[in-house]
C-alpha cells in the first residue's frame, strides 16, 4: 500500500527540523518502522544516557496510535521489563492530531517526570514510593550500565 502523504510529511519534517535530544529515522525497506533515540533529560536520573526505541506506524495510523517500545533497558516505574510504555496519549488519550514528534516529546517528558501512582512495572513503582532516593540511584546506575552512547 502506498505511504499516506501524512507519513511522508511527518518524516520529512523530523529529518529537516529534528527535535533537540530526539532522533527518529525510518527503515529504508519499511518506511513505517523507525529507529528512535532519546537523550535522557538533564537533571533526571537518565541524564547522559541515550535510549533506543522502536516505533511502528500501523496501517490505520493516525486513527490508531503508533506502537512504541524501549529497546534499551531502563529503570522507570512506567516502563516495564519488555520496554512497553504506560502513557495515556499512547492509549486511551490518543488523538489523530498528535504526531510522532509530539509523542516522542511526551516520552522524553515522562523520563523527566516518572509517575509511580500509575505504574506499569509494579516492583519499580513500589520501590519508587518506598525509597525514592534509592530508586533514583538505581535508575542512574542502569543508565550508566545500559544507556551509554
Amino acid at each position: 500500500m502506498a505511504l499516506p502523504k501524512r507519513i511522508i510529511k511527518e518524516t520529512e519534517r523530523l529529518m529537516a527540523e529534528p527535535v533537540p535530544g530526539i532522533s527518529a529515522v525510518p527503515h529504508e525497506d519499511n518506511l513505517r518502522y523507525f529507529d528512535v533515540h532519546i537523550h535522557g533529560p538533564s537533571q533526571s536520573p537518565y541524564e547522559g544516557g541515550v535510549f533506543k526505541l522502536e516505533l511502528f506506524l500501523p496501517d490505520d495510523y493516525p486513527m490508531t496510535p503508533p506502537k512504541i517500545r524501549f529497546l534499551t533497558k531502563i529503570y522507570h516505574p512506567n516502563i516495564d521489563r519488555l520496554g512497553r510504555i504506560c502513557l495515556d496519549v499512547l492509549k486511551s488519550n490518543w488523538s489523530p492530531a498528535l504526531q510522532i514528534r509530539t509523542i516522542l516529546l511526551s516520552i522524553q517528558a515522562l523520563l523527566g517526570a516518572p509517575n509511580p501512582d500509575d505504574p506499569l512495572a509494579n516492583d519499580v513503582a513500589q520501590r519508587w514510593k518506598e525509597d525514592q532516593n534509592a530508586a533514583i540511584e538505581t535508575a542512574r546506575q542502569w543508565t550508566q550500565e545500559h544507556a551509554k552512547p
Partner: protein, 461 residues
C-alpha cells in the same frame, strides 16, 4: 587589523548608500577625543592608573556604607556623566546634553581627600590637585551654606555638603565633546532608521499591490501563476531567513546567518525552476523587487551590527584609557537604537502583512489529521475544522472526540457542519489541490461502499 581601519573599510566597500555612511559612528574622531581627554586628565595628574585606584576605593567605600544611608554625601570622589537634575526632566527631553565632570570632596585645611585610604602617591597627586585648584584653570566650586538652600531646594546638591570640606569640580571638556558627538550620531542613526523604514514601507506596499493583482484568483489567466508564487513564498517562509521558528533555533538571526539563509532561498527557487516559470516580464520585475527588498533588509542588519560594535569598541577604549568606567553607565543614559534588529523586524512584519499574506499558504488550510487541504471542510461544534474524509473515518471507527480539544463533537457532526464559506475560499485559492482531494475522496467513498477492489475497477473492467 585595527577595528577603526576595518570599520572604515567595511563602510567604504560594502556598498552602503552614501547617506548611511555619513550617519555612521565616526570611530576615528571619537578616538581622537579620547586621546585629548587622556592628555587633559594627565595634565592634572590623573592618569588611568590613579583614576582606577580612586574609583575602586569609592566603590569599596560605597559597598561598606551601603547598609546605612546609601547616598549620605560622604563619598570622596564622584564621576558624573550628566547633571543629576537632568533626570527630572527626562520625560520631556530624552537627550539631555552631557556635562561630565569629576567631583572631589577635600578637607579645607589639609587638602586631604575625604575618608580616603589611598597610597601615598595617589594622595600626593590629589593633594597637589586640590591645592593647585585655586591657581590653575580648574574651577573651585564652593558649595553654598546648607542652611540657605536646604529649605528651598531638596535636590541632591545639598547632601554633598560636609562640614570642613569643600568640593572641587574638574570639568572635562574633551569628555563633553566625546559624548555630545556620540549622542548626536546616535540620534542621526535613529532618524536614518525612521527614514528607511518609511521608504521600505512604501516599497513593500507597492509590491504587495502588484503581487495581489498578478495572483488575483478571480482572473482565470492567473491560475498557473498563483501556484508558482505560492511555491516561491512557501520556500521563502520555510527558509527562515531572518528569524528561526524551530525548537532549536527560535531567535533573530544575525546578518551573516541571514545572508546565508537568503542565498539558500535564492538557490532553491532557481534549482526548482520557479524563476523560469514566471514568464511575464511584469512578474519577473516583481520578483526582482522582492529580492531587492530582502537585500536591503540584510544590508540594514549589517550596517546596524557594525555600528553597534563600533560604539561598544569605542566605549571600551574610553574606559581602558581613562578608567572612568563609563561602559556600564553610558548605555543606560543613552539607549542605543536597536537599528539592525528593529528595522529587520519591522520590515519582515510588513513583508508578511503586505505580500506573503496576499497568497494563502496550504499549510494554514490543511487538515491536522491527513495534513492535506481540508476539503471539504467540516466545522465541528467546538469550532475546529477538519476534512470530511477524516471525520467519516473517525465516525466509522467510533472515535467521538475532537482530535484537537477532545470535546465530544465528532459524533454529532452532520451535513449542517459543512463550512460552505471556507469551501468557496478553498476552491478559489487552491483549485488544483481541491481537484486532487475531491478525486481521492470519491475513490475512498467507493472503497467504503464496495471494498478494496473498488480501487482496481479500471483494471477489472
Amino acid at each position: 587589523m585595527k577595528y577603526g581601519q576595518w570599520f572604515k573599510q567595511r563602510l567604504k566597500n560594502d556598498g552602503f548608500p552614501p547617506d548611511w555612511v555619513d550617519s555612521a559612528i565616526s570611530y576615528s574622531q571619537l578616538k581622537k577625543c579620547i586621546n585629548k581627554l587622556t592628555a587633559e586628565l594627565a595634565s592634572v595628574g590623573l592618569d588611568a592608573a590613579t583614576l582606577s585606584k580612586l574609583l575602586k576605593h569609592v566603590e569599596e567605600y560605597n559597598t561598606s556604607t551601603a547598609a546605612q544611608d546609601a547616598d549620605d554625601g560622604s563619598r570622596s570622589f564622584e564621576y558624573i556623566l550628566a547633571d543629576n537634575h537632568a533626570n527630572d526632566a527626562s520625560s520631556k527631553k530624552p537627550r539631555t546634553p552631557f556635562h561630565p565632570k569629576l567631583l572631589f570632596h577635600v578637607n579645607e585645611s589639609t587638602g586631604e581627600i575625604l575618608g580616603a585610604n589611598l597610597d601615598d602617591k595617589t594622595r600626593k597627586n590629589l593633594q597637589m590637585l586640590a591645592v593647585e585648584t585655586g591657581l590653575t584653570e580648574l574651577r573651585v566650586f564652593e558649595e553654598p551654606d546648607t542652611d540657605s538652600i536646604a529649605s528651598s531646594d531638596s535636590a541632591s546638591c545639598t547632601s554633598n555638603k560636609k562640614a570642613g570640606y569643600r568640593t572641587v569640580e574638574v570639568p572635562l571638556t574633551s569628555d563633553s565633546e566625546f559624548f555630545s558627538t556620540l549622542a548626536t550620531e546616535l540620534s542621526g542613526l535613529e532618524q536614518l532608521q525612521d527614514r528607511e523604514e518609511k521608504r521600505m514601507h512604501n516599497e513593500i506596499e507597492g509590491l504587495g499591490r502588484q503581487v495581489a493583482r498578478m495572483t488575483d484568483p478571480d482572473r482565470k489567466s492567473n491560475r498557473r501563476l498563483l501556484a508558482v508564487w505560492r511555491e516561491i513564498f512557501q520556500v521563502y517562509i520555510e527558509s527562515d531567513i531572518f528569524f528561526g521558528h524551530t525548537e532549536s533555533d527560535h531567535a533573530a538571526h544575525n546578518a551573516d546567518k541571514a545572508t546565508e539563509r537568503f542565498q539558500k532561498f535564492c538557490n532553491t527557487i532557481a534549482t526548482q525552476g520557479l524563476v523560469d516559470k514566471i514568464k511575464k516580464p511584469e512578474g519577473l520585475r516583481a520578483l526582482n523587487t522582492f529580492m531587492h527588498i530582502n537585500r536591503e533588509i540584510l544590508q540594514g542588519l549589517r550596517f546596524g551590527e557594525i555600528n553597534h560594535t563600533a560604539m561598544l569598541k569605542i566605549l571600551k577604549k574610553f574606559d581602558k584609557q581613562t578608567a572612568l568606567g563609563v561602559k556600564s553607565s553610558f548605555p543606560q543614559r543613552l539607549e542605543y537604537p536597536e537599528f539592525s534588529e528593529h528595522l529587520a523586524k519591522a520590515t519582515c512584519a510588513e513583508l508578511n502583512n503586505q505580500i506573503l499574506s496576499s497568497i494563502p499558504q496550504l499549510e494554514d488550510y490543511s487538515c491536522p489529521m491527513c495534513m492535506e487541504l481540508k476539503w471539504r471542510p467540516v466545522r465541528l461544534r467546538c469550532g475546529h475544522t477538519f476534512c470530511i474524509r477524516c471525520l467519516i473515518v473517525m465516525q466509522t471507527d467510533k472515535q467521538h472526540n475532537c482530535p484537537l480539544c477532545r470535546e465530544k463533537t465528532v459524533v454529532d457532526a452532520c451535513s449542517d457542519n459543512l463550512d460552505l464559506e471556507l469551501a468557496d475560499f478553498l476552491k478559489k485559492w487552491f483549485p488544483d489541490e481541491v481537484k486532487a482531494k475531491q478525486k481521492y475522496n470519491e475513490l475512498m467513498a467507493g472503497v467504503d461502499q464496495y471494498g478494496e477492489v473498488y480501487k482496481e475497477r479500471c483494471v477489472v473492467m
